[in-house]
């Protein structure tokens, strides 16, 4: 179910990713603006879209450098996951963690 992470990411994908990040930074002003909405609400609203990205197995609320941030857990880091998971959501930093599949143990 959980595919292996692709090792060779095309340069174009990286470039697009980089540009997307840059755009996100410009638009949201990371670390400058105070997020207008509570993180719980952002998470609740954005989680269905995030879970629809192939490979995403979960989301959660954490702390990054003392500030609330959003964790996105992925089965494997695929180019699709890379390009479709934003770096920032409504002012909250998004951190992607590769966990593999989550199973009942």
């Amino acid at each position: 179910m959980c595919g292996k992470a692709e090792k060779n990411i095309p340069v174009a994908t990286l470039l697009i990713g980089f540009l997307l990040c840059l755009c996100a930074h410009c638009a949201k002003g990371v670390g400058v603006q105070t997020p207008p909405e509570a993180i719980g609400e952002v998470l609740a609203r954005e989680t269905p879209a995030l879970l629809s990205v192939p490979g995403v197995v979960g989301t959660g609320q954490g702390l990054c450098d003392g500030r609330p941030c959003i964790y996105v857990y992925v089965c494997a880091m695929t180019p699709e996951a890379r390009s479709r998971i934003p770096a920032v959501l409504d002012g909250y930093r998004v951190v992607v963690k590769e966990t593999g599949e989550i199973e009942g143990l």
């Binding site: 179910m1 719980g40 998470l43 989680t47 879970l51 995403v56 197995v57 979960g58 989301t59 959660g60 609320q61 954490g62 702390l63 964790y71 857990y73 963690k97 966990t99 593999g100 599949e101 989550i102 199973e103 009942g104 143990l105």
Partner: protein
């Protein structure tokens, strides 16, 4: 003056038993000691001469030896290398005073007899407190009442999970808590079916009804259908305090607190479970939504706790482990049920909704 040497019989018996156990625990020395009249006294010969009968202080010979030992104990303890005294039997089955020594005594140092009762020197070597046993295997069988944090499961399937905790209801009834997928087999087990310790997987898939510690009382169904979400994967089995204890085995955190706390990001946590025993980690995220794979299918869980650890925090068989704070209070935080294959990410239900589902509380300290 004589009264000073009078020892209460119970105290004497306890001393005797302690010293005797210490001598036994010192292990093998009885067999190894070369030469000497007492070299013939082995654990076997003691058993042989008594013909399997157990002698206690009601035996007049033993009682006499005990009072003699009590009177001479202080004097004997002043001799070089003497570590203790006890009462036992000689190779010829006569009640005797045992003098435990660190090394072989000088000939003639220890009298051969005291007031007609034989004295036997036993070289035990240094006697130290035994280190805590490292051999506790949470996957094995435990004497009743069983500890928490050890192997369990429904009798209907070859699997093993972990007993989370002992919980109690308003009427004082006690239950074993674990996951639905451990006790209720992902909604498939019948109410009243047996819950065993160890889980059937740990008896080589052999079903042993005598291993029962309770019967399945209730479970929170896991919803697998698309569009449905879950918060808890839990079940309880009716038990009693003669079959179910409320502390982990030695080497664990012991009894959890009865008072629960909410998970906080960055909180230091620990768990004791069937496969990896005691491990520690940190709450990385709360309010988590996680897609969890079961044998039946995939289920979405919301409002979960994500625990991260650099090493394996959880492995298959640890499901059901209670997540508690990593301090002496050991306040319950969550009920562990899932994780990744490396065991570095673990998912726990918040403990509040778990307990509320059955109207129970943690039966801890």
């Amino acid at each position: 003056m004589k009264n000073l040497f009078r020892v209460d019989r119970r105290v004497a018996l306890i001393t005797l038993l302690c010293l005797f156990s210490a001598a036994l625990l010192s292990g093998g020395i009885w067999y190894l000691r070369p030469g000497g009249a007492e070299a013939g006294i082995t654990k076997e010969s003691v058993v042989t001469v008594t013909g399997g009968a157990e002698l206690d202080e009601t035996n007049p010979g033993i009682a006499a030896a005990m009072s003699l030992r009590a009177r001479y104990h202080d004097t004997l303890m002043t001799l070089p290398h003497v570590l203790g005294t006890a009462v036992g039997l000689t190779a010829g089955a006569k009640p005797a005073i045992f003098v435990l020594t660190k090394e072989a005594p000088q000939p003639g140092l220890i009298p051969e007899s005291l007031e007609g009762t034989p004295v036997v020197a036993i070289v035990t070597g240094e006697i130290a407190a035994m280190p805590a046993s490292a051999a506790v295997n949470p996957a094995g069988y435990f004497a009743r009442p069983v500890p928490t944090g050890v192997s369990t499961g429904n009798i209907g399937e070859c699997l093993a999970g972990t007993i989370s905790a002992r919980v109690k209801d308003a009427h004082g009834k006690v239950y074993a808590l674990s996951n639905n997928h451990v006790f209720a087999l992902e909604n498939q087990a019948a109410a009243g079916s047996l819950v065993v310790q160890p889980g059937v997987y740990d008896t080589s898939c052999k079903v042993v009804a005598a291993d029962a510690i309770g019967t399945l009382t209730a479970y929170a169904p896991i919803h697998f259908a698309t569009g449905t979400t879950n918060t808890i994967d839990c079940a309880i089995a009716l038990s009693d305090t003669s079959r179910l204890g409320n502390a982990t085995p030695q080497g664990g955190y012991g009894k959890p607190a009865s008072a629960t706390v909410s998970a906080r990001i960055g909180q230091a946590v620990q768990k004791y479970g069937r496969t990896t025993a005691l491990t520690t980690g940190q709450v990385q995220a709360i309010n988590a939504t996680v897609q969890v794979s079961y044998s039946t299918g995939t289920a979405i869980f919301v409002n979960q706790i994500v625990v991260f650890s650099v090493g394996a925090f959880i492995q298959p068989g640890d499901s059901g482990s209670l997540l508690v704070t990593n301090n002496s209070a050991a306040n319950p935080v969550g009920l562990l049920f899932a994780g990744n294959s490396a065991g570095t990410y673990a998912i726990a239900n918040p403990i509040g909704p778990v307990l509320a589902a059955f109207s129970v509380t943690i039966d801890g300290k």
